[in-house]
């Protein structure tokens, strides 16, 4: 099914957004987040942006103090996922304008809405920024 989860975690290892595409219990999520964040934070910038963890691969990318981590199946194209992360950040940037960690924290639901438009059932379904943001803008207008 491709993407198993998407996490945003800051440099201190604090979760800023978590979206899972397969059900994990609270304890499992806590443990998983702890393990992979530790793994990714320990790596330097020259090393691959990919880490194997149990049965999945984590593709991660750092923007300022925020890490974006995507857990994928083994047969996923890692480079494409890396660019998907960037597309997500660009989309958020277009919406918020100079997006920063605090934007995501204050508008957690909006960040989730964007992900809902981009990914369903663990597959990338929409990559046009206009299509992703239109429903959110319309919603803002109507409320």
């Amino acid at each position: 099914m491709g993407i198993r989860f998407i996490l945003m975690v800051n440099k201190q290892g604090q979760t800023r957004l978590a979206q899972y595409y397969e059900w994990l219990t609270l304890e499992e999520r806590r443990a998983l987040e702890g393990e992979i964040v530790r793994k990714c934070l320990a790596r330097n910038e020259q090393q691959c942006s990919f880490v194997e963890h149990r049965n999945y691969k984590i593709v991660y990318r750092r923007y300022a103090s925020l890490f974006f981590l995507v857990g994928v199946d083994n047969d996923e194209n890692e480079l494409a996922i890396l660019e998907f992360i960037h597309l997500l950040v660009e989309t958020m940037d277009r919406h918020f304008g100079n997006v920063c960690e605090l934007d995501i924290m204050f508008h957690l639901e909006k960040a989730h809405f964007m992900l809902e438009e981009m990914v369903m059932n663990g597959s990338i379904v929409e990559t046009s920024k206009a299509n992703i943001l239109t429903p959110i803008q319309l919603m803002d207008k109507s409320s």
């Binding site: 910038e45 090393q47 494409a80 924290m105 379904v125 046009s128 803008q137 109507s142």
Partner: protein, 951 residues
Amino acid sequence: MGSQGGFYQSKEFLDLVKSIGEARSKAEEDRIVLNEIETLKRRISEPDIPKRKMKEYIIRLVYVEMLGHDASFGYIHAVKMTHDDSLLVKRTGYLAVTLFLNEDHDLIILIVNTIQKDLKSDNFLVVCAALNAVSKLINEETIPAVLPQVVELLAHPKEAVRKKAIMALHRFYQKSPSSVSHLVSNFRKRLCDNDPGVMGATLCPLFDLITRDVNSYKDLVISFVSILKQVVERRVPKAYDYHQMPAPFIQIKLLKILALLGSGDKQSSAKMYTVVGDIFRKCDSSSNIGNAILYECICCVSSIYPNPKLLESAADVISRFLKSDSHNLKYMGVDALGRLIKISPEIAEQHQLAVIDCLEDPDDTLKRKTFELLYKMTKSTNVEVIVDRMIDYMISINDNHYKTEIASRCVELAEQFAPSNRWFIQTMNKVFEHAGDLVNIKVAHNLMRLIAEGFGEDDDTADSQLRSSAVESYLCILGEPKLPSVFLQVICWVLGEYGTTDGKFSASYIIGKLCDVAEAYSNDETVKAYAVTALMKIHTFEIAAGRKVDMLPECQSLMEELLASHSTDLQQRAYELQAVIGLDAHAVACIMPSDASCEDIEVDKGLSFLNGYIQESIEKGAQPYIPESERSGMLNISNFRSQDHHEASSHGLRFEAYELPKPIVQSKIPPASLASTELVPVPEKMYPRESYQTTVPSVSSDAGPSELKLRLDGVQMKWGRPTFSPATSTSNSTISQKTVNGITQVDGASTANSRTRETYDSRKPQVEISPEKKKLAASLFGGSSKTEKRAATGHKISKSSSHMVEKSHVPKSSMEVASEKTPPVQQPLDLLDLGEPTVTSTVPSVDPFKQLEGLVDTTQVASAVNHGLTAAAKSPDIMALYSETPADGDLLSGVLNPSMTNMPGGTTTRQSMPRSKGPNPKDSLEKDALVRQMGVTPASQNPNLFKDLLG
């Protein structure tokens, strides 16, 4: 204002976010969240909470769960919120519910009704919100409740709805394929949707369907190819462009599908060659996304029926990846190489040094990927180097998951390609010693079987050599402290079976060692059981050979201990041993034939050897045995009621008569063979492992492995024979490929080597390749160069003309590589992937607010400058959107009353865009000022919160 619409949040919420943002430790964060839970518990159940407020509470609940605490007390309020009329509140409710609940949660049933209602809504955004929830919350049982509506929505005028309906159906297919099996044709239909977004989404379910059943979708090859062609030729809307690439994510999905459809299908593959070739030629190799597509092309090319030209392009891309300085590209290159060598094994050779660099890289990810590649290219000539490296790495890591994987790979390679018995045994010893508790028990059984059976070739001396060396090495290893249980089981079994066979070691020596094992690992019953059985074998072999055996004192005391063991299994084994020792040589040889573990066991199921005994008993007046099935009233022995019932209806005497035969028959088995089980008259089935040794004349002592044998027979064991050969289906093209690729190598492998080294050197002239590395390269890749030589010389004369052509091509392609290197490949990455140093130089040194002040009321142009790359890439997007949308309706009526005007979706953004879209510096400033007003200032504690992610 657009994105800033959310700033109606209360001070309380802002404070919460602020404090979480500034928490310095997990403990501090936990304290804040626990506090928040208390507050929410009190507040959330107050009556008449305004819905804005409720939405905020629900988001605070999301925070609570996201930070790892239970928020179940508030789930019901999230469920209630899905009923709300306000779209934003409703969607937030749905979002919270999908985050909180799994599909089997009890509360789901309360939502299904709401979903059904919302799927019928006139507002397409409500329908979309409901479809999002459908694809996350509907389980197998609730599918029928929404299925008809979802199917109806596949024809909805709004493409956003069609797309989500397709994905909901995809979800149903994932959950329960049978529930939608009659609707699969809808996916085919939607592939032709006018909207590229819907088409792109449809590829997801089609990919799954094709993975399961390729043959039913061969007719779609032409459609997929033509879609891919259109995408590559930029005939999809510009909005799908990403970094100047036309719809790259759709391209990748299509290539994945084509790889499936073309696998082993020459005809289908032929239709794909042109378009894949086009991508290879056109694709921008200086961007990450371009390389992602190129990588996918390689995957596709190595999966479909081979085409020499495409393979060549793939090889070129791989060599560029491997030579790159980016670890990410190296990683992709190693992976791609692993795919391509299956088809053209000779390409590995030109990259040998790059591969070795990756192997020795400190980056674990790259290292593992390289081990995966080595695993794929192992053959009998390089197995020793590769497996030794793997074992060294295995010993060095702590990650049990990967340790297990690499251990089983070592075992597999050793079994397939081992050059000698000695090496094989030593390798297995190392694997067991360091990862014994992690490897599958089957591996151990397999090893025992291999030692017992030999190599399948009728070479008895080699077999006995293998056994001797195994015994010798095991006796040596037993000196080590703390061996894994599985390994000890193997050791005990082999020592028991072959410890004394070659006469090098005396029985008492082996017995002593076995007793030591049983003593040292006294809380491992399985090991003890193996040890006792091994002891019995040694003793019986001695007796059978006519030698007198006295039980060693330590063996004696072990037996005494085991005869009183709490484990009935150990007890039985001890009793058996005791009984067997008292027998004469002939009887013993029958029970425990030497080296007969691989003999077939003929099980006399009818127990015919008892016939005489039974006859005798019957003559003496015993009741004949009645099979269980023919007995009436005995079917439910455990069911006392029915027994009572039967007793009441039949004669009381009959009950006893039926009861007797069972124990009689069983206790009668031993006399025919031995008296041993009489000591422990237990039904056989309780002791599947080894306990039948005493009862069945022709004995195999490994029941477990012999059961496994059936499975293992399918696995080819290719001992010592070079077995690496390309698949027959591809061999034709492989040869032709060799002649093309191998042209520069016609003068022999040495020239080929020197050339590749030259190119490698020219890249890093200052780096000298250590002789050690060269040696490693030679031992890893040496084998292939030999075969290469043979193949190449065969074509030497006939192909000399193409040789010239090819030669002129080679420098060109290497120049291409060189020129590709000169433009700053890294630049886009650097610009956007801002690391810490650049960010710190812009943010803390200059006050972000001051920076923004100058920008107030500036024009759009200034913002475009300010946002550099993103904005620049964006503006043509917007223009394209205008020019491409065929018609446009009034925004508000189009959106809020879709029932009146069902305009295609792209139009809706037209008017809203200039105002609410795009990074507007004024907005940012307002936002920041507002935040500051609320008291959230970029405190020294965590200035990072304000850093632009994109820099």
